[in-house]
Symmetry: C2
Subunit: 179 residues, 2 copies
């Protein structure tokens, strides 16, 4: 079973969700398209790690809502105990920046400006996410502990916010360099 499969199981420990919802919620932490997720859910279902029910909706198309089974939780615990793969990052921008001397300052500034907009939008999304976590929690977020349901999500969004702040700081620094 691949990493994304375990990632889907991870999400399902908190809420039962449809494939579409899983796709939306896993995006910030593991980019994947629906064309990858639907087949994996079918696999997980065949193995008995998840189960689903058809949920009719009046305002939207019907959906299949998946839940994790006890067997799925066992598989998850086994996976967490195993050694963790190193993170993989692939950023086309870094390859372009490496040979940025090939183009003029103006083009370089534009390239960086596009990325800055991307980071700002991302930061905005993480801020909204953090608000949503706070709304669903009785405790103030900085008092959450490992046993609390929202703990994992909180510390991850905190990490993501720290990262995007660093990225934005670098953008500012680069603007100075390209003045």
């Amino acid at each position: 079973m691949n990493t994304l499969s375990y990632g889907l199981l991870s999400l399902l420990t908190k809420n039962s969700r449809s494939g579409y919802e899983l796709m939306q919620h896993i995006q910030p932490f593991w980019s994947a398209k629906h064309s990858q997720i639907y087949p994996l859910l079918a696999q997980l279902e065949q193995k008995g790690h998840v189960a689903f029910v058809h949920v009719p909706q009046s305002d939207k198309p019907d959906k299949k809502v998946y839940s994790i089974t006890e067997q799925g939780k066992d598989a998850l615990r086994g996976w967490i105990a195993e050694p963790t793969d190193e993170p993989v990052t692939r950023d086309e921008l870094s390859l372009k920046v490496y040979c940025i001397g090939l183009v003029d300052k103006e083009q370089a500034r534009k390239m960086l400006a596009v990325r800055e907009v991307y980071y700002k939008k991302k930061k905005e999304r993480f801020n909204l996410l953090m608000d949503k976590i706070q709304q669903g929690s009785e405790k103030p977020l900085d008092q959450l502990e490992i046993g609390d349901d929202a703990f994992g999500m909180y510390v991850l969004v905190h990490k993501a916010t720290m990262k995007v702040d660093t990225d934005l700081y670098w953008c500012e620094w680069m603007k100075e360099k390209l003045k």
Copy 2:
């Protein structure tokens, strides 16, 4: 032509390198194995974007040293002008942290400790890289400008250093949370 191919061309704008060296030098910014790089280099050679010479070595096995051609540089400039793909990050740890409540504090701490060691080693490597860039530069690094040969590498390693510092800061923060 895929992004990695352009990445290889990017590296070759600064130095002529063998496939093995390219693999080592592109790693910090785009993870790729030799089994992906060698076929791409053959492709690039067929298209006339790079050329190579056999270089015999006495202390090590002989190698093929690739250089970028004028045609390759033109291709690179075209690629830089195109819209840049958004960065892709896949970190198995984040998926595990999401459902960290499934395991006890001790196991969680161990998992994070392994990652912290990874970040520290990475930071050490970037420090060495920065030293090496300084050694090859006449100017102090903070005075480098877009026209300077080492500029791209310098700003990238600076970004990477900022990122790994943020990651290490998060690890410290997590240690407090898991006390």
